[in-house]
Symmetry: C2
Subunit: 793 residues, 2 copies
């Protein structure tokens, strides 16, 4: 800690006065946005007609955010730093807008919000107004990569942005409300993965204004000494700036930031000179009143320095003359006529305080990362293809083959340093370990001689926190780079809400012309439900894609490649896309391989197709369609077809495989949706379809309910039955296995059940035999594990 | 910290020897479960045929868990404590099973796994075996309230269990892998909400064995000094037990636990004597080798004390004679013949070490909380009904009325102390603040004179962490109490994965006769998508129910009460149920009230019904069905009906309202599903249905795809369009508003569009007028906000 009680005199009186007035300007514009429709410069006395009918917005956090902003401006100018402002309290939207307006960026991005009186009026009016801008920092806010509506991810986004950005400092404001969330609490450990030799720095600014919506905050009520212990234990060096007298606080904040940036410079210097040293990163703990400089009391109740200042301190300005008077007094306390000229422009001496050009935090290119994005250099995935003489002839572990592709991507882009892999301690478990041929796991703590693929230069980010993986990757993508998150399928639900928020960010940013496209967020979901027989029910959940399918069709893609070569195509494709969220579900266990590379390409490009070689209908109308999506369902479907072909050779079977799940939707609903004719050509108009699907069966119904033949679609999938058992028993428990699929086909083809009674009996016998065998021997029958597709291509 | 380097001699030599041998017995049984099918006492030399064909399970964490268990046994006996063992590393399933077997509980619960050689063989065989038990601590494990498959929630469950259980200590083991997760990191603050005067104690045991699946852990590689700072900052008093020599470690652990329980006793005593003092709770930091006492090296590679011991240290026992030999050596190192008699029973002097009866951690009643559960005393909700002379005649805030009910529940059950409310700082914001008439928010940090409804005796648990709210509530319910979690609808996704895991727990525990039913987990989702016009897009997401609908029909219920009286019935109903997850979605804003109490009861009991008073078809077959689910969709539907009644008086309209969403599914799919005839009687066989639904429209299609009239169902819902705007504009953006609904009805009734061209034009004009008006004035048109249902009952 620095002793900020000592008399500090970092700023000259003149500097201090300018900084204070700039802060007042930001505060004035913030209040104006929340309240005013008109009379933006208060040239005339305020009347109720100047005030918005609905008062929406959050004042409480805003003056603190503005305070930090102006002090960061000073640092940027003084030290020529590149600073990204990550605003955790997204509620402080008015402050972010105010500051980017003051520095001129806002009017450059939105020319109609000009630096004039009319522009000011527009700035005020548009805020939280129909057809205007949202109340939070959002994609619409220049300089932002962080929404902050749902709290918890500020630090993670900041770290993601500074990885491989050695000259960047992310000044990350964390509210004391947000600091109570789990994801934020778990994100302090991010420094254990940040290498000052190659990465930038995050300067956390823990803003303790003491209150949430209607409660004190935990950290806000704790002693400085305890707070210092926590963060010092995590590896930070906390500098406290505490108080409410603006004059003293300006000096203290300036001194604290000088100290922090000195420290960052020192850490960088020694790290880049190759000097290993135990790093302790600076952070700021800022204690300032909630609703600082706003009304102290309203209607006799404490407001400034209390939670009542959280939203709109004066709530009835139109209806209550006292409130109106208080608002005017409050706004005039900032002396607008001394801040803006008669035309509404910030006066020159204050304008001079803002950094210039791209140094302005609203204009820093990394906050519009698509501008900086370089395409990945991609290897030829065909060169990595599994050699498949005939369908089902060989086995391979799909994700292991994908690992070879990722290794090549890592190798080819190592110098550009714009590609990382993220995962919760599962890269090797998920069999992507080929990447360790060319890189390691990032790790800044101690290493032992017996450690494996671990070190400060690694580009694989592993931490047992799906939140960290997701948040870091989002920050990395938003700042213009590329990546992939591999995860156990069941536990990706841990970041459902983060996925939601990122999808929302993409949806809005795609509508903003000035935001350049960013790389897609790619998920590999593996160790999936059908191969979690060893870890049991808690590890079995394929429902993430259901959530994904709720989002805007332009944003989301879901791929279920049935084997390694299709997975290669899908991975290559996803890594080339932008502004999307691609979900790839693929297994890691040895499994039969179906398609040679050319066939895989053709199949994946179509998204879904008939596997003529597998069925017996060939070009003709089938008696039954055996459809499948997902690797295990595909194998079980083909095994079922094998049974049917042997036992009922006259049955005309068509096999349809779906790689791109969105092909199932009508093309009016999703850009990948198959047109009606194409869909009907696959699934027929009226034949029974036995659809073996990887996840919860409802999703297939939901995607296909408007299709011609929907009434004949009989979907099997995960029906929430599971435990620790054998792999095949998992399929049996959910009636997705070859025997149940064959039984269903026989049941659904009109008239067939009567003729095939002996087959039905045989299948039931097989199920009983499976049951007995597994419970006696603890493994699947040899005829299951040894089954191979017996037909030549 | 206590100095554990000092020579410690808490245990006599004889005690130490017994404890060590008991530990060896637990370790032996753990290894046996992972490996053996037969020869459980190693009476004959081990052969490959004694070994399971598939080796599933996790050794690494297990010896540490066993070590903690035996030492807790000592404490329980020595101090007559009631200890609940919460096993964060659920991977250590073999250890939990071994210990509950050693203390006799397992054989009492599962008599076929007896304390005989045959029972031992069964114990070994069943583990991770088809038809047997899962590899993790699970509902099947006696003494457990915690699965631990998905990591992060151990501390939260422990706190939930000890709230209002003043004599209970939850010994909560947190693995250093789990400690990296966000939710776990955020759960250390739980002590800020634990009142030693009325609550029990949590003794966290942070188990640093240093490794995850394939990585060191962050905390495992950190210095003791830094770890001490972190936890000391959070308010704990960490006691370190570090080493690998079992003899020294036994003494150290015994001393540490003595110290910890002395501290807990002291805290309790002074708190219950009314002496306020700054509380610092003890915790244990246990550093012991991963895979302790297992093979040091396998195939020349480090295993003990490294991540290679995570799962099965010897992986090819059947195929590799060296592995087989190593396994036998390892198992014999525990000297089984000195632990068990020839009949397989634990020898008497070791049996004596286990606590007796309900003191055994496997038998502690709180871990089968349904046994302890007392029904809530419920008030008469009818007495709180909103008086409704005629539908739409009055407005009310639904959740405020629900708050009155919750207040009465809190009041009536205050003495029993078995009901709490949970929420992230939103109880007042969600307008449930009537509860503050009878209780406060729980808070153990400093209070200020100006704080509002805050104090150590509060029964409303508010922390800005949905994870904490959910985890505490789960622990509270699993230990036999009642509660409700109120949350902003969008942010409940933060705990999607916790919901999943709890649903899985309930599904399995319902299948276990010995597990008594527990109270349902009740959610109130409010501040919902249609009334987040002020906070914007990030706060708008109604997708949680889609996730819920994936779970087993026996477990989940979804209610969308359209007004306050239906909400009263639903709340009363949910609080009376057990072993379910009830999701209630209801708004907090003033809104028209439709049903008087008697009508509300009748409607809710049916789950869905025709509102004859609203339609024009009366008893007859309608031209169109206007269906609705959710409060805002109901209001918009009735407003659309109002328009249609005025403009097209000959149109026969039927209004159907759905409260219980699961009525839409066939009764073969869900116990609340309406039988075909009843469903068809509501929705007709062939008439157009305009269905205004609260959430994503797909869910309605998914639930109804098999219904007779599904092809005519036209669903409007949230289509992911939103921002900060007016409430009505939110509906318009998603085409769920009265104008769009009326237009859709006109479009879908055959022949009507031709006749009603003027109405269509008028509706389009209204939409344009709305657009202009809101963008000019920033609020909804008076005819929208002032609209009232104009017809008498």
């Amino acid at each position: 800690m620095v002793d900020l009680n000592a008399e500090l005199k970092v700023l000259s009186d003149a500097e201090l006065s300018l900084i204070h007035r700039y802060w007042q300007a930001a505060n004035y514009l913030s209040v104006g946005q929340i309240y005013l429709l008109d009379n933006p410069l208060l040239k005339i006395p305020l009347t109720r007609d100047h005030v918005k009918p609905r008062l929406l917005g959050h004042w409480g956090t805003t003056p603190g955010l503005n305070f930090i902003y102006v002090h960061m401006n000073r640092i940027i100018n003084a030290r020529d730093e590149n600073v990204l402002y990550v605003c955790g309290p997204g509620h402080g939207g008015p402050g972010m807008v105010a500051n980017t307006y003051l520095e001129g960026v806002y009017s450059e991005v939105y020319p109609d919000v000009s630096e004039t009186e009319a522009g000011l009026e527009k700035l005020f009016r548009q805020f939280s107004f129909p057809g205007g801008i949202p109340s939070h920092a959002a994609p619409e806010t220049p300089g932002s990569i962080h929404e902050g509506g749902e709290l918890g991810y500020a630090i993670l986004h900041a770290f993601g942005a500074v990885f491989d950005n050695p000259d960047l400092v992310a000044a990350c404001v964390v509210g004391d409300g947000e600091a109570e969330t789990g994801p934020l609490s778990g994100s302090w450990q991010s420094i254990k993965f940040l290498n000052p030799a190659r990465d930038g720095a995050v300067l956390p600014i823990l803003h303790l204004n003491g209150y949430k919506i209607a409660n004190p905050t935990v950290l806000g009520r704790m002693d400085d000494a305890d707070i210092a212990k926590i963060f010092s234990g995590y590896g930070y060096w906390p500098i406290f700036v505490c108080g409410e007298d603006p004059q003293l606080m300006h000096q203290a904040m300036a001194a604290a930031l000088d100290k922090a940036f000195d420290e960052i410079a020192g850490i960088r210097k020694s790290a880049r000179a190759g000097q290993a040293s135990s790093v302790r990163w600076p952070m700021i703990v800022l204690r300032s009143p909630k609703g600082w400089t706003g009304p102290r009391e309203v209607d006799g109740k404490k407001v400034e320095g209390f939670w009542r200042s959280h939203q709109v301190p004066l709530s009835n300005v139109r209806g209550n003359a006292d409130h109106l008077q208080q608002l005017e007094t409050w706004m005039r306390s900032y002396r607008p006529s001394e801040l803006f000229d008669g035309n509404g422009q910030l006066i020159e001496e204050l304008r001079a305080l803002a950094p210039k050009g791209d140094k302005r935090m609203g204009a820093i290119p990394v906050a519009n990362g698509g501008q900086l994005r370089k395409e990945l250099v991609m290897p030829d995935y065909r060169a990595l293809a599994v050699d498949i003489a005939s369908p089902g002839a060989v086995e391979a572990e799909s994700t292991r083959v994908m690992g070879y592709l990722l290794r090549e991507v890592a190798r080819l882009n190592a110098e550009t340093a714009n590609f990382r892999l993220f995962g919760p301690d599962e890269t090797a478990s998920n069999r992507l370990d080929a990447v360790f041929d060319v890189t390691e796991r990032a790790w800044m703590e101690k290493c032992e001689p017996y450690d494996v693929h671990l070190g400060p230069d690694g580009r694989v980010m592993e931490v047992l926190s799906e939140h960290c993986c997701q948040g870091w990757l989002e920050g990395y993508l938003l700042s213009g780079r590329h990546g992939l998150f591999s995860c156990y399928e069941a536990f990706i639900h841990i970041v459902d809400s983060m996925f939601n928020q990122h999808a929302k960010w993409l949806k809005v940013s795609r509508e903003l012309e000035w935001r350049a496209p960013i790389s897609s967020l790619n998920y590999l979901l593996t160790s999936h439900v059908w191969r979690q027989d060893h870890n049991g029910f808690s590890h079995q959940d394929p429902g993430f894609v259901d959530l994904v399918a709720n989002k805007k069709a332009d944003i989301v893609r879901i791929y279920l490649p049935p084997d390694a070569n299709t997975l290669l195509w899908v991975t290559d494709h996803c890594l080339r896309t932008y502004d999307r969220i691609n979900v790839i579900v693929a297994g890691k266990q040895p499994a039969p391989q179906w398609l040679a590379m050319d066939a895989a390409v053709e199949h994946c490009e179509a998204g879904a197709g008939i596997w003529d070689w597998a069925g017996t209908a060939k070009g003709n109308e089938p008696d039954v369609v055996m459809a499948c999506a997902g690797d295990v369902p595909t194998m079980e479907t083909l095994a079922a077809v094998d049974i049917l072909r042997r036992e009922l050779p006259d049955l005309a079977i068509r096999v349809v495989n779906v790689v791109d799940l969105m092909t199932l939707q009508p093309d009016t609903e999703h850009p990948h949706g198959l047109p009606k004719q194409q869909f009907d050509a696959l699934f027929t108009n009226d034949k029974p379809v036995i659809f073996a699907y990887h996840g919860y069966p409802y999703l297939i119904h939901r995607l296909t309910y408007a299709r011609t033949n929907h009434a004949n679609m009989h979907v099997r999938g995960f029906k929430e039955e599971g435990t620790t058992t054998t792999p095949f028993d998992m399929a049996v428990m959910n009636e997705l296995d070859r025997y149940h699929l064959a039984l269903e086909a026989i049941r659904r083809v009109p008239g067939l059940a009567d003729k095939a009674g002996h087959v039905v009996q045989q299948l039931h016998d097989k199920l009983a035999e499976h049951h007995r065998y597994t419970r006696e021997y603890g493994e699947d029958m040899p005829e299951i594990t040894g089954w191979r597709w017996p037909y030549p291509a």
